[in-house]
Symmetry: C2
Subunit: 292 residues, 2 copies
């Protein structure tokens, strides 16, 4: 497997890292980049992330056998509409968005006869940095990637997508867009929402700054993801709102169960709930294999 | 400043690390240890954490010019009652508990004429490990330590306490027990409560295990503290219940403000709230100096 040309639409952290990783693995001959920002493509060219600058998404995809959309999720549909007529019939088309039901729906509306080429993808990276200057060939190594093929997706394209991410050192899962969004509402979108709320709760108090100056390593780790990119997280929380709100309600019920035992002073039952949480967390490890 | 004898009452992670750090800094000639568990003191002796085993707290403090209580907070009052008659008049007496109003009240009830010797202390370490086998001379280096002297605390003892922790590489703050408990309810106890609730919310769902297998680095960091020791955290949450519940209410109000904007689809206001959280977190750093 070697690609002649990667069309990189969006040259930020995610897209730039994909291009660098593909180049290091010698899986691509040429990378053509497009970004809505001319300074970003210029920087990507200077850093060797891309080899040529395209003046439009349509131009970027011409002659490309691999297309990666690495834009804010909200830009997916208009971009797919623009490139639809120019994507080569045998190309593999992927995105890297953090929500998938909305991307699947956008693709169904926008791609027409090119829909079978599309394999929605979500690499789980956990970087709160952004921008092409932070791009790294190592970003995806050892990470999980979730592919959410549509009913219309070509099986050959899906197999190629599996091979690409595996070649970059990723552990690849396949599931429906809906199952993806339910799972990531629970293990990613809710934790982000909680971290945002925790920071706002603190900064909203008159002594908030004084309190923050006393915080230690536990606070540092549990709030790291609160520093994530605001526009991206607004889009994710809105795109996956039903699942996120359902998870938030479940979480608040669990929180209130703990509060109730604190209020009543029921030490034995409180210890049991904490023990259950502690054991679940102690037994958990980041998955490093593809489930069968 | 050099101590003739440290009486270490409780030889787990916190106490053991204090003894090792004090020895490495050549600030103590001998460490005598007591623990309710005979296997713990035997292990502490074998590891060189202590030099001799005492058969009781009373015996441990005899002839000691430095006494450190490193026990579960619930054991503070009975232990102080037991050692009250045996502590040398000029000794410095400290604890390492994570709550301070309850410790201050326990000391006031238990210590009688020895109350002026007591300087309650809380080192901020962020270790979810426990036990003497994890003790390390480095545990406290670079960490913050909060001292919460009582109205009755001798000023000379407070100055010595400041010197000890500073000599171990710590950044020392002084405040009242009440101010300490308000601050740590916000930046430590609440984040733990949230992490416990998040784990329980996940494991309580039929698909919880499947969701957990897909979680990534953001989840890993934001839930690390959920693996903390259950008995210790039950005690902390109960000892500081008023402040913890007040912080939890504030947090839920912040969470619900975000939920409301997600429900109504108000992307602009949602982005602003996330931006505020993201900026507060990005600007925050673990304090590495003593505020004036």
């Amino acid at each position: 497997m070697k690609f002649e040309r990667l069309a990189l639409i969006g040259c930020g952290l995610m897209g730039g890292s994909f291009a660098l990783a593909l180049k290091r693995a010698a899986l691509v001959n040429q990378v053509v980049g497009f970004s809505p920002s001319a300074s970003t493509t210029a920087r990507a060219l200077a850093l060797g992330v891309i080899d040529a600058i395209a003046s439009s998404p349509e131009q970027a995809v011409q002659g490309a056998d691999l297309v990666l959309l690495a834009l804010p999720v909200a830009a997916t549909e208009p971009t797919l509409q623009r490139i639809r007529g120019s994507v080569a019939p045998g190309a593999l088309l992927m995105d890297v968005g953090s929500t998938k039901s909305d991307v699947a729906a956008a693709a169904a509306r926008a791609l027409g006869d090119k829909l079978p080429l599309f394999v929605p993808a979500h690499p789980i990276c956990g970087a709160e940095l952004s921008g092409v200057d932070n791009a790294s060939a190592d970003l995806y190594a050892g990470r999980q990637v979730v592919l959410t093929p549509l009913a219309q997706t070509d099986d050959a394209g899906l197999q190629t997508a599996l091979q690409v991410w595996t070649a970059l050192g990723c552990h690849v899962h396949c599931m429906t867009p809906e199952a993806h969004d339910a799972a990531y509402a629970a293990v990613s979108h809710l934790p982000h929402l909680i971290a945002f709320a925790l920071m706002n709760s603190l900064s909203g108090q008159s002594q908030g700054a004084a309190f923050l100056s006393l915080a230690g390593p536990g606070f540092r780790d549990s709030t790291r993801i609160a520093a994530s990119e605001p526009s991206m997280w607004r889009d994710i929380l809105l795109a996956n709102r039903e699942q996120v709100l359902a998870q938030s309600r479940q979480f608040q019920a669990s929180l209130q169960a703990l509060e109730q035992l604190i209020t009543s002073g029921d030490g034995e039952a409180l210890k049991q709930l904490i023990e259950s949480a502690s054991q679940t967390r102690s037994a958990w490890r980041i998955s490093t294999h593809t489930p069968s």
